[in-house]
Homo-oligomer: 477 residues x 2
């Protein structure tokens, strides 16, 4: 049986060393590999298939709200990047510069897009003329580059895949409505599709996007108690429109600036799935996002009729994403491998099961085994997939709730930050000095000002002045 | 009625100036715009939706053959690009170089991928160990950059979208089989989905891909008689494997080099659709690839019941991709616009039609009008979409056939090249000198050595030496 345990043996225990456990899963579940290009990753088929499912679902939800896909260039001429002051300050230090095209130096250097606000603005300035042209609800799927010093697969890499939506509206109200609408699309996708509960809220000015008037965010809590910013939606007001001169002729025959938004979600969500749901046996995929939902493992597959039955089962289960593992590995190895890859349900079927006209369903999330008659297996699998999806969300939600703490003094803040990884809810006066001090004293940053406000105290936990907001604080990826 | 004709008035006639007609359609059908980034284009929603449909269909067909999607970095360190001699010679002159990352110069400059053979080889060298790891049938969707001097929307731009498949196999036979399989996937997609007939064949050594042992191609014929290379599939043999040291341990316990292929199709297929099917009223989309297959235009929409009926029809036709144009434009303008955008069927419905319980279907490809009873409209639309798809292919095929000529002397070649735009079939000895001379004398290049060989003569049309192959020649985009 030594061989059967091999895969798991290579994994560090989650509670022992969370960072190493994460890296082990990325590697052993074959999600991603380092590449020869420093700081960039190779996304392997098992990892990419997860991203494809997220992408397809998100794209479908976008289109339901009237979003259309477009594609803009990957390069930004330096003069274009510099048009909006805050934006260039935020991004210029971390871009990759193209200085040669073919054999010749460029007249003006260009960066590889770290984000495409400036390109969309440049395009809208030429494309939007009248109130009839609004709103523009455009989205783009692609990759962007940010020259990070330290990188981790899916969580932080120099190139990553994402979508970036960029919209232009006639009024400030419409822009605000779109900003919040897209935040909710992200939040719903996380909760309904990825089984990851999130806290919805607004970023403080210190944490907002370079050039934005307001940044909204969804924050998820990983198993280790660290937060992961999982999607952001920005309202730019007319700041970019003024910098790029994007005006439209309104019905009243006057020229007005458009109001803009942008919003993005990235491949880091694959990392979130690992860190919220994974366990010491490997990845655990929520059924809705799992590229393979059911793996059928024939036991004693060389015995007559076993493989036939396995493939017959595959046909019966064709309403789900199902595979038969008929490789020449041992059943134990296959069990271990299917667990490492996080496949929600394993169906074990051997001669004894066939004789009894049944099969054994094994839940990846709880390891629970259930014998089911073959006659009703398709319904049983369908119900079980729903149960798993539901239970995974509930467990993640319970974890988030049990790891969300309240603090009304700095001693409590520090004690929690040092000994109780999770979200810390505390009142805040609204000034950046206190944010800096929270970082300095307790090593935490403001994650968001949640929409669901509570009054925990009258004064700022940090400076004692009157509090204006309740804030979620924490350590973050 | 002047206003109604406006859209069409802006289009140059196809026979008058094909290049300008093409540019006009790209602009007026809102497929693409030039961007501020020289040589790069903005793909607008109407253009991107066509590409999305091509991508989704191609991706589905790939997966049916066992292909898996992955994602590799967009950068190639210079030393990696240089590993395969022919390959670097072919691509190095036309790449964009990144020399700065953040504020610091890079130790080694990197190019933005013009194609990813070297990255896949570098990955396979670390990823493939045993015969059990083969085949690797990987594909990637993304964009690449080639520093072109002259560009045209969709046909040639510095950045373009594509997919690139890269496979690794245990044997030469398997690699050859995969190379041809993917060529046929491209050919079938063109013919069945885009209604574009193609000639399947092999490139001459002069025209093959930098680093390939053999390049296969599908060549389509545009309305102006110029050829468009529409998809290529390359067999690398073990050339790259030797350069990158990609070896596997075979069953017989010896180390062997893998055999590799790559294959790609790009956004230029959007250009092919325009140039094969378009007419003087604008774009004409084959139903299968059309983002909107049916547009319903209410006539006298302010009269009671007309708009309601239009939306009722939309529900009845919900099995197709259908839209109602209820904007405040005049019906004539809407007709003209739906034609410019190439929507296969327009449904006109007004008070008189409603009284008679009928609607008028207008075919985009033939302008034919057909009155159909509302009770059977869904079936009628379904049948008509099939008919249009079929007829568009047959017309394009007839055009290809009637514009394919034979030549057995250089006088004939020159005369055809000067006066009869199209494919010229002629015998060839097999040497590059004759290819160069055909270019010099008649301005044509070898498009492909078709799989379907014919013997038109015993000798090379150019040098008179014994012929080895019949070749398709022509002017190409």
């Amino acid at each position: 049986m030594a061989k059967e345990k091999k895969l798991v043996e290579f994994i560090t225990s989650r509670d022992e060393d969370f960072a190493q456990w994460y890296t082990d899963i990325v590697k052993k579940a074959e999600l991603s590999e380092y590449s020869s290009v420093k700081g960039c990753m190779v996304i392997k088929p098992a990892g990419f298939a997860i991203w494809e499912n997220i992408r397809n679902e998100l794209d479908r939800r976008f289109k339901e709200t009237g979003v259309e896909n477009v594609y803009l260039p990957m390069f930004i001429p330096e003069s274009l990047l510099e048009k909006e002051k805050d934006h260039v300050e935020g991004f210029a230090p971390e871009v990759a510069w193209v200085t040669m095209g073919g054999m010749e130096p460029l007249e003006e250097r260009m960066c590889v897009r770290p984000t495409s606000e400036t390109l969309f603005c440049d395009f809208y300035a030429r494309d939007v003329h009248s109130y009839r042209d609004l709103p523009r609800n455009y989205n783009q799927w692609g990759s962007v580059v940010r020259w990070e010093k330290t990188t981790r697969p899916f969580l932080r890499s120099r190139e990553f895949l994402w979508q970036e939506g960029h919209t232009a509206h006639a009024t400030a109200e419409e822009a605000e409505e779109r900003t919040l609408m897209m935040l909710n699309v992200y939040a719903d996708l996380c909760e309904e599709f990825l089984a990851i509960p999130v806290v919805r809220g607004r970023k403080t000015d210190k944490e907002k996007f370079a050039g934005a008037e307001a940044t909204y965010t969804i924050e998820a809590l990983m198993h280790d108690g660290k937060a992961l910013q999982s999607g952001t939606s920005h309202n730019f007001g007319d700041g970019f429109a003024r910098a790029f001169n994007i005006q439209y002729l309104d019905k009243d025959n006057t020229l007005k600036y458009v109001h803009q938004t942008s919003w993005g979600m990235t491949t880091r969500m694959v990392g979130a799935i690992i860190m919220v749901h994974g366990d010491d046996d490997g990845l655990v995929l929520p059924p809705k996002v799992a590229p393979t939902q059911v793996v059928i493992v024939p036991v004693q597959q060389n015995k007559e009729g076993v493989l036939d039955k396995a493939f017959e089962l595959k046909t019966i289960l064709s309403g789900y994403r199902v595979k038969v593992d008929d490789s020449d590995k041992s059943p134990g190895w296959k069990f271990s491998e299917s667990e490492m890859r996080g496949i929600p349900i394993r169906v074990e079927i051997g001669p004894r099961d066939i004789a009894q006209n049944q099969a054994v369903l094994v839940r990846r999330d709880t390891h629970e085994k259930i014998s089911v008659p073959l006659d009703t297996i398709s319904e049983e699998v369908g119900k079980l997939l729903e149960t798993i999806q539901h239970d995974m969300f509930e467990r993640a939600k319970a974890h988030l709730e049990s790891h969300t703490y309240e603090a009304t003094t700095m001693e409590e803040v520090k004690d929690l930050a040092d000994h109780k990884p999770g979200f810390i809810k505390a009142m805040w006066c609204g000034c950046e000095e206190c944010e800096n001090k929270m970082k300095e004293v307790a090593g935490i940053t403001s994650r968001c000002i949640p929409f669901k406000q509570e009054k925990l105290a009258d004064t700022c936990v940090c400076c004692g002045k009157p509090a204006t907001k309740m804030v979620y604080w924490g350590k973050a990826y």
